[in-house]
């Protein structure tokens, strides 16, 4: 890649992130309800109106009554200094709130994506066009798992592997052993989804002339599938992986909830519920960054899998 292209990529990535944080910032201000009231209710466990006098200290402290533009500039200015603000509810810097939860979330989602790929590829290589029964079984399995809700998968895994078989812990925290079930909870439906996409492509590619050519060269069936067909068939799934990674980070909250695991999904839900604007914006910023990085990786992966793109990319 040329320097210009890299600079362009970096600048656009930063722009995407600032835009994401800005949109989130304004979207949250647009939600009906007063932030100071929410904070007071959160501190007291009530749902009532408060007098202006009671709300004044909070309004003053967080500048809720400042003009929106002032609040926004203050926020964006902070972003460029690496300051995401202070959580309204936890009284800690947002960087710290997110920092503590980011690694468990990334581990969970990256592992889930990797496992999903392994499952999807295994399913594709082993079942597509392997006789009617095996093919249908594979396709049915993918259709079934792709449509399974995470909550259901998580609870079934929990009941089978934690309660009945006692293999994995229920409240596993961030330990490797304790991460197995949360990872599978996210990976199984995703594997079904990736598998479906790959399967269609795989079936079509298997009928291409170059596959026949490869076979006539005496290549083994598995070799053909792995070296030639798969290369073509995985491209759509790779594209989707960039999206999947971002979606998983934010959507991991269900797995986190079931298995008592920390993570930014959980923090995001709480922060949205409590109108903790800096925390919500901060998390959106991080998720946006993950999307950006993931899409960059997708571009690179494309180049590796499809040499035509690599050649074109150097232009």
């Amino acid at each position: 890649m040329s320097v210009r292209r890299i600079v362009f990529k970096v600048v656009s990535a930063v722009a995407v992130m600032v835009a994401a944080a800005s949109v989130t910032f304004f979207a949250q201000l647009a939600v009906p309800g007063d932030r100071a009231t929410t904070l007071m209710n959160l501190q007291t466990g009530q749902d009532r109106e408060w007098t202006a006098e009671e709300l004044a200290p909070l309004n003053e402290r967080f500048g809720f009554k400042d003009p929106i533009l002032v609040q926004y500039l203050h926020y964006v200015g902070g972003l460029f200094r690496g300051d995401l603000g202070t959580s309204y509810t936890q009284k800690r810097p947002v960087t710290e709130v997110i920092g503590g939860q980011l690694l468990p979330s990334l581990t969970l989602t990256v592992a889930a994506l990797a496992v999903a790929w392994v499952l999807a590829l295994a399913g594709t290589l082993l079942t597509v066009r392997r006789g009617r029964v095996l093919s249908s079984l594979g396709a049915a399995w993918e259709a079934l798992t792709a449509s399974l809700p995470h909550y259901w998968v998580g609870v079934v895994l929990l009941v089978v592997f934690s309660v009945q078989l006692r293999v994995f812990p229920i409240i596993g925290g961030t330990s490797a052993w304790g991460s197995v079930l949360p990872v599978l909870t996210l990976a199984i439906p995703l594997a079904g989804f990736l598998g479906q996409v790959t399967r269609d492509e795989f079936e079509q590619v298997l009928q291409q002339p170059f596959v026949t050519t490869a076979r006539t060269r005496g290549m083994s069936d598995f070799g053909v599938r792995l070296r030639h067909v798969l290369r073509h068939a995985v491209l759509p799934a790779i594209t989707l992986s960039g999206w999947a990674l971002g979606a998983l980070v934010a959507g991991a909250v269900i797995a986190e909830n079931i298995f008592g695991r920390p993570g930014i999904g959980q923090v995001l839900v709480t922060a949205v519920n409590t109108r903790d604007v800096p925390t919500v914006s901060g998390i959106v910023l991080v998720v946006a960054a993950i999307y950006v990085v993931a899409n960059l990786l997708v571009d690179l992966a494309y180049a590796v899998v499809d040499p035509r793109l690599a050649a074109g990319g150097t232009r």
Partner: protein, 541 residues
């Protein structure tokens, strides 16, 4: 996800009872030899933003770290804690507490009269704890240190329940030195008290690790043993999912769990020690908007109360675990509870129809009643997922069907926490009925909730917008009445007024349910609002 939830719970129930049959010998291990040390793993639900604060979730955990001046015994009497004794002046205005000698905060500073007075000032005058404040407003006047071990609290008017109210966890005494000398974040995460435990570490999103305070010497008179905590640590874990939380007991990953799913309650009773605590204070009952909409007419409010079989719906929805509460003002666990009041408005659809006819609401073609062209639509706003569990929402759906039969078109409006706490439904135009609860160990909760909202002293907690001068006078008389029997008669009268006017409609009691492993003894809940106590608990072998 709603239905899935229930299916999943049922799955666990079935599978769990299956494994019970497989290992029936487990019960035999009860009553073994007491052990010292060990770590109790506690499965809680909600993670509070700070350890200390005015939300009950915060009182639960700050109770482990902070001691109070006095505590409430199971018989409802107030017992010594940091204060060994106290005197009340004959006019009922001055309370003088004598503090236990030689008690130190875990930062080494003394728990003296100065510190206690400073804490009262913090809650009441410096926004330190709004629930502590509202509990003793407007009776509290000032707190003064007389000497090192005597603290004096003056009231504006006699308020005998003052002592009962300060037994709540919101009144936990913190070290002024630590509070003033540390950052807000440190005070939020690791408040310094003189309690049986200290906050060792807060792994956000996961758990709070509480470590035994080895120098503990200020246990309450109600403690089950004398001395520091017997276990070394309590790991207070946040496991939001009910299926996982309950299942973690069966695998030995936890020893105590909070909020046992009601479908699992019978199973829990057969396998573990169980505790069901009915919370005193305002039960889960509907506030009825008396200021705007169809409920401005008392007859319509009464018809609403008669129009659905609330008792049957609650018993079915919660599998018989959570009791129905017909008294909208205070729950059956509250001192001064008027049981007669609770019997009013038993399900009577004919009576409901008659009242609606009388009020001029006639049946329309679709079965929904209308008056002057306006349909009888009721906006029922409920906090989904935080005030109302899924089971609670099911109860509302059952009631909705029954109300429809008598001609109410009830719209169930689930409100998110952000909406409800952000004030989206505070205005009288936004709702007609909304259920909520407020825990309190005393019937003086009536004053907090039903005090008239006046221009110079608005009362945001009066969500029925119900201003009744007679009611206000009766409650104030009750609050200042020194004779308990007379006070309770007055509180009973207040409950009667609210019920007669149908300014609220009863539903069910707010409960805390716990399941405890059989090898853990002397885990208990204190009386004022069911805060769990771990400092007496020990394992048996």
């Amino acid at each position: 996800m709603t239905r899935r939830n229930r299916v999943a719970l049922a799955t666990v129930a079935v599978l769990a009872s299956g494994s019970l049959a497989a290992c029936g010998g487990a019960a035999a291990e009860a009553g073994g030899e007491p052990q010292t040390g060990g770590t109790i793993i506690y499965g809680h639900v909600q993670e509070p933003p700070c350890i200390f604060g005015g939300w009950i979730q915060q009182a639960y955990i700050s109770r482990q770290v902070l001691d109070g001046l006095v505590t409430l015994a199971d018989d409802g009497s107030v017992q010594p804690w940091l204060a060994t004794k106290w005197t009340v002046s004959s006019d009922g205005l001055r309370y003088t507490f004598t503090l236990k000698d030689g008690v130190k905060f875990t930062d080494g500073t003394p728990v003296d009269a100065e510190a206690v007075a400073w804490n009262f000032d913090l809650w009441e005058n410096k926004k330190g704890n709004s629930t502590a404040k509202v509990s003793i407003d407007p009776y509290y006047k000032s707190a003064t240190a007389v000497d090192a071990t005597h603290v004096q609290i003056d009231l504006n008017k006699p308020f005998p329940l003052f002592l009962t109210l300060i037994t709540q966890g919101y009144f936990g005494i913190q070290s002024p030195t630590a509070y003033k000398g540390r950052s807000e974040q440190e005070n939020c995460e690791k408040p310094i008290g003189s309690g049986g435990f200290t906050v060792k570490e807060w792994k956000h999103g996961q758990e709070v690790v509480l470590a035994k305070n080895p120098a503990y010497n200020s246990w309450p008179a109600t403690a089950k043993h004398q001395g520091p905590a017997i276990v070394d640590e309590v790991r207070w874990k946040f496991v939001a999912d009910g299926v996982a939380r309950y299942a973690s007991l069966s695998t030995g990953e936890s020893h105590v769990v909070y909020e046992v799913p009601t479908v699992n309650w019978k199973d829990a009773q057969s396998r573990y020690q169980t505790i069901r605590y009915i919370t005193p204070g305002k039960p889960v009952s509907f506030f009825i908007n008396t200021k705007a909409g169809p409920f401005t007419d008392k007859l319509v409010r009464q018809a609403f109360a008669y129009g659905a079989d609330r008792k049957a719906a609650v018993e079915a929805g919660f599998h018989g675990v959570i009791p129905y509460e017909g008294n909208p003002a205070v729950s059956q666990a509250t001192p001064g509870y008027n049981a007669e009041v609770a019997k009013a408005y038993a399900y009577d659809p004919a009576k409901a129809e008659q009242l609606l006819d009388q009020a001029g609401w006639a049946r329309g073609a679709n079965g929904i009643r209308a008056k002057d062209g306006t349909p009888l639509t009721i906006k029922l706003v409920y906090g989904a997922g935080f005030i109302f569990t899924q089971e609670g929402a099911t109860v509302l759906q059952v009631l909705q069907e029954q109300w429809k039969k008598v001609g109410f078109d009830v719209k169930l409006i689930p409100a998110t926490q952000a909406e409800q706490w952000g004030g989206k439904y505070s205005d009288p135009s936004t709702f007609d009925a909304t259920p909520s609860y407020w825990t309190s160990p005393s019937p003086s909760i009536l004053w907090i909730v039903w005090r008239p909202s006046l221009p110079d002293s608005p009362n945001g907690s009066n969500r029925s917008f119900y201003n009744n001068d007679t009611l206000s006078t009766v409650i104030q008389q009750a609050n200042s009445e020194p004779d308990t029997a007379k006070a309770n008669a007055l509180y009973g009268q207040a409950q009667q007024i609210i019920q007669d006017d149908a300014a609220g409609v009863g539903l069910y009691t707010q409960n805390s349910t716990y399941a405890v492993a059989r090898n853990l003894k002397d885990f208990w809940l204190e009386k004022s609002q069911g805060e769990p106590v771990f400092s007496d608990a020990y394992f048996t072998k």
